[in-house]
Symmetry: D2
Subunit: 301 residues, 4 copies
C-alpha cells in the first residue's frame, strides 16, 4: 500500500522500517530532514514529500505519529496539512497520544470532507516499535479499521491490535493505560526506595513481589531493564509520560472525575524533571528518590 508517514522519531523511525519490511511503500514528511532517524529511513528506501499536503496526495493511508494535540492539528488540518491534499476516501490514522476531544473534532472535520480518521495510539515503547510488537488501540468506524488493519499489523503484534469503539475511544484507552504506567511506576519507585532503606534486597523484593499481589508489567519488565540496572536511556522519556499524565488530568477535569493518584504521580515526574531526568526513561524517577533517601536500588544479577 501507499503509506504516508509524518513523525519520524524514536517511535516513528522503527515503525516505518517495519512497514517497509512488510512491503509497503512509504513516503515521509519530515520537518527536520537532517535528523539521524530521518536519514536512516531515507537510506532504507522511503520517499520524501515537501509538505503533509503533498504527502497526502501520494497516499492511500496517512499515518501521523507526532508530539501533541497542536502538532496533530497542524499536520492534519493546517494550511499545508493533510486535509488540503487528501483524495476522497483517504484514511488518516493518528497514532499519537493526544486529547480525545481533539481527535473527535478532527474526525468530524474529516467526515465532512469525505475522509476517514482513526485514532490508533500505541503502547510498548521504542522496543515495541523496533520489534513490531506494539499494542494498538483503535477508535473510529469499525469497517475503516478493518481496511487499515494490514498496515497496522506491520507495526503491532497481530493479537494486540484492538478495535475499541467510536472516535476517541482509542485515545481514552491509551490515556487510561498510561495513567497506570505513571502511577504504578511511581509507586514501585517509592516502595523500592523504602524497602532498600529499611534493609531489604532489590532482587529479593522483585522476585517475590513479582509472583505476589503487588506484581505488574512495570516491575517485571521496565524496572529490571532500566532503573534496577542503573540504565536510564529511554525507553519512554519522562517528559512524554509527564505530558500524557497532563492529558489524563485534562480528561478528568472535562469529566469531573477525581484522579488523586495520577495527580500526585505527575508531581513526582515533575520533581524528576526538575532533577534533570526529563529526557531519561521515566523510571529515572527512582533515582531522584534514591538521592533524596540516600540509598541505591540496584540489581546484583
Amino acid at each position: 500500500m501507499q503509506v504516508g508517514f509524518i513523525g519520524v522519531g524514536v517511535m516513528g523511525g522503527p515503525m516505518i522500517l517495519n512497514l517497509l519490511k512488510k512491503g509497503h511503500e512509504v513516503t515521509i514528511f519530515a520537518r527536520h530532514p537532517e535528523k539521524a532517524s530521518v536519514q536512516e529511513v531515507l537510506q532504507a528506501g522511503v520517499r520524501q514529500a515537501p509538505s503533509p499536503r503533498a504527502l497526502a496526495m501520494a497516499s492511500e493511508i496517512v499515518i501521523t505519529m507526532v508530539a501533541n494535540s497542536p502538532d496533530v492539528e497542524e499536520v492534519v488540518a493546517g494550511p499545508q496539512g493533510i486535509f488540503e491534499g487528501a483524495r476522497k476516501g483517504l484514511i488518516i490514522i493518528d497514532m499519537s497520544t493526544i486529547a480525545p476531544s481533539v481527535t473527535r473534532k478532527l474526525h468530524e472535520q474529516a467526515s465532512e470532507r469525505g475522509l476517514h480518521f482513526l485514532d490508533a495510539p500505541v503502547s510498548g515503547g521504542s522496543q515495541g516499535a523496533i520489534n513490531g510488537t506494539l499494542s494498538i488501540m483503535v477508535g473510529g468506524e469499525q469497517n475503516i479499521f478493518e481496511r487499515a488493519r494490514p498496515v497496522l499489523a506491520a507495526m503491532g503484534k497481530e493479537e494486540n491490535i484492538f478495535y475499541v469503539g467510536p472516535s476517541g475511544a482509542g485515545e481514552v484507552v491509551k490515556i487510561v493505560n498510561n495513567m497506570l504506567v505513571g502511577t504504578i511506576s511511581a509507586s514501585i519507585a517509592e516502595a523500592f526506595v523504602l524497602g532498600v532503606k529499611a534493609g531489604a534486597d532489590t532482587d529479593t523484593m522483585a522476585k517475590i513481589i513479582g509472583v505476589s499481589t503487588g506484581a505488574s508489567w512495570q516491575l517485571a519488565n521496565q524496572f529490571p531493564m532500566r532503573a534496577f540496572n542503573g540504565s536510564f536511556k529511554p525507553g519512554f522519556m519522562t517528559d512524554l509520560l509527564h505530558k500524557d499524565l497532563g492529558l489524563a488530568l485534562d480528561l478528568a477535569a472535562e469529566n469531573q472525575a477525581t484522579v488523586a493518584m495520577t495527580s500526585i504521580a505527575r508531581q513526582l515526574y515533575e520533581l524528576s524533571r526538575a532533577s534533570g531526568h526529563g529526557r531519561d526513561d521515566y523510571t529515572a524517577l527512582m533515582q531522584a528518590l534514591e538521592q533524596l533517601a540516600g540509598v541505591e536500588v540496584r540489581s546484583k544479577q
Copy 2:
C-alpha cells in the same frame, strides 16, 4: 509436628485446615471460641489451649496470625504469653503483618531466652489461604527457616516460600508488596472510573491494558473477581489494607523516605471507609469513586 496456632480468623482458619491435611497436629488458642471459624477447626480435630502460654508448652512450633503489633506483643511477650510457656528451642513464626521494629524487638527477646523467632507474613488473601497457595516471605535465621519449611509448605505454594533475609526482612518485603497492592488498586479504581466516564468500555480496557504496559496482578485477578463484578465481599478488607498502609507510612517516617503515592492511596481508602466500605474488599474503593463520578464500572462478561 506439634503446631500451636494463635489467630483463627479469615486467614488463620483455612491455614489450620491445611496444616491438618498435611498431617500436623494443631493446638489453638482462641480469645473468642464461639466464632464460626474457631468452631470449624475444632470440628476438624484441633485441640484448644487455655492460653498462649499453655499452647506454647504443648508445641514444637507456634504460629501467630493476629491483627497488629500490640496483639503480637501480647500473645508472644505478655504475662500469659508464648515466652512464658516455651521450652528451649521453640520456633515462633509470626505470620501477621506488623511493624518490622516490633519484629526485631521480639526476635531479640526470643534469642535471649534460647527461642527462635521468624517473621513470615503472607500474600494471597483468603483465597490463597483456602487453597494453600499463599506466598510466604520469611525473615530470621536461615537454618531455622529450613527447619520450619515443612510447616510453611502446608500453607503456601512450595515455590512461593521465600527466605528473604535477617529478622524483620519478611515484614519489610510484605509491607512493600502491600504498598503496591494499595497504590496499584487505587490507581486502577480512579483510572477505570475516568475511562468509563470518558466513553470507554470496562471489558475492552481490561483486556487491552492487561496485555500492555499498564498491566498488573490486581487488574488481571482482583478487579475481575470483585469490583468489575459488582462483588465486594473480601478477599482482603479495606480496613486491613488501610492498616498495612499505615505500617508503610510509619516505616517511611522511621527511614525518612518520601512515599507520596502510598500516602494519597491511604487517604483514598480512608474515603472508602468513610463511605462504609471498611469491611468490604479493598477494591470497593472503586464503588466510592463511581458514586462520586456518577458512573458504573462493570464487566458485561
Copy 3:
C-alpha cells in the same frame, strides 16, 4: 475617561458601576445582552458597542474581564477584536486571570501595533468588586500603569493597587495568590471536618486558631461568611478556582516546579464539582467532606 469594558458578569458588573460612580464614561460589549448583569449596567447609563472592535474605536482605555485565555485572545486579537479597532496609544487592561504566557504574547503583539497592554488581575471576589475594594496586581510598563491608575482606582482600594513588574508578572502574582486560596481553603475544610468529628466545636476552633499560628484570611473571612454559616452562594465559584488551579499546574509544568499541595487541592475541588458544587462558593468543598465524614461544621453564633 472613555473606558471600554468587555465581560459584564459577577465581577465585571459591579466594577463598571464603580467606574460610573467615579465619573468615567463606559461603553460595553456584551455577548449576551439579555443577562441581568448587562441590563443593570445599561440602566445605570453605559453605552453598548456591537463588537470589541467597535468598542475599541470609541475608547481611550479598554478593560477585559473574561473567563479564560482563549476568551481574552478572541476579544483582543480575534477578527472583530480590540486590535482591529484600536487607535495608536490605546491602553488595554486585561483584568482576567489567565496564563502568563498568553499575556506576554498579547503584550508583544500590542507593542508591535503601537498599543499598550497591561495585565491587572484582581483579588477580593464579588464583594470586593461591589465595594470597589479589589486588590489589583499590575504587570507591564510602569509609565503605562501610572496613566491607567485613576481608572484602576475606581475599582480597587488605593493602597491595594500594585505595580508588580514586567508583562505577565501581575498574572503570576495572582496565580500564586489563588494557589494559596485553594490550598488554604481545602486545608481548613479538611481540618475542621476532622476537628468537629473528633469532638471540638466550630466556633471555639475558629476563635482560637484565628489568633494562633494557623490563622489565615480565609478562616477569618470567607469561612465565617459562607461555609460555617451553611451558605454556599458565591463569592467565588468552585469552577473558577478549579480553573485557576489548572493555570497554576500549567505554570508549574512550564517551570518544572513541583506543586504537590496545589495538585491535591485541585483534585479535592474536582471532588467538590462532582458532588454538584461547581457553581457554589469554593468553600462548599467543606460540605462535600462533611457528607463523607457524616458531620456538620457550623457556627452557632
Copy 4:
C-alpha cells in the same frame, strides 16, 4: 504556687523562667541535668527533684511539656511517675502535643485516683514561650481550669488562654491548628518557589498576598522571619511538625476522616527531613524545594 515542671527544653526552659518571674516556686525533674536549658533554669532558682514521683510530692500543680505520647505516659503513669507521688487534688497540666486518646486515658486514670488532669497544649513557638505570649488551649473540667489559670497566665497571653471543652479537646484544637500550620506553610513554600521561578519578586508577592485572599499568619510572620530571610534556625523544628502531622493522620484514621492535604504536607516535610532539615525550622522545606527548582526565594529588604 508550688509548681512542678517536667520537660526543660526549647519550650519548657523559657516557660519556667516566666513562671519564676510571676513569683511561682518551681521544682523540675530533668532526665538530662547537664543540658544548657536545665543549667539556665537552675541558675535562675528552680529546685530539682530526683523523679517525677518526688516532684509530684512537692507540688500543688505539675506541668508536663515533653516530646510525645509515650513520654507523657511514662512521667505521669510510669513506675516512678507523677501518679505515684501525687497528693489528692493535685492538678496535672499536660502542655505537650499528644494523641487525644492518650489524654483521655490519663484523665480517666487521674480521676480514679482523685487527681485532676488538664490537657493544655500551646501555640506560638519558642518566641511565644520566651515572651510569655503563648496561646493555650485547655481541655478538662472547667472549674479545674479556673484554678489553674493563674499559672497558665504566667506563660501565655491572658486573652489567648482558652477553655475549649472536655478532656482531649485541647489536644484536638492544637492538632487542627498544627495541621493548618503544616499545610499552609507547605503551600506557601511551593507557591513562592513557583512564583519566583516564573519571574515574580519575593517581597512584592509577600506584600500583595499579605493583604489579599491568600494571606495567613505564616506568610506575615514565620516566613519573613525565617525562610525569606535565609534563616532556618527554629522556631519550631521540622521533626516536631512532622510528628504533629502524624498525630493528625492517626486522629483522622480513628475518625475515618479524609485528610489529603495534611497527608501530602507530611510527605513534603519527610522530603525536607531527608534533605537534612529535620532540626531546622519547618519553613526550611522551602529551601529543599528551591534546590529542586534551582531558584532562591529571598527578601531583599
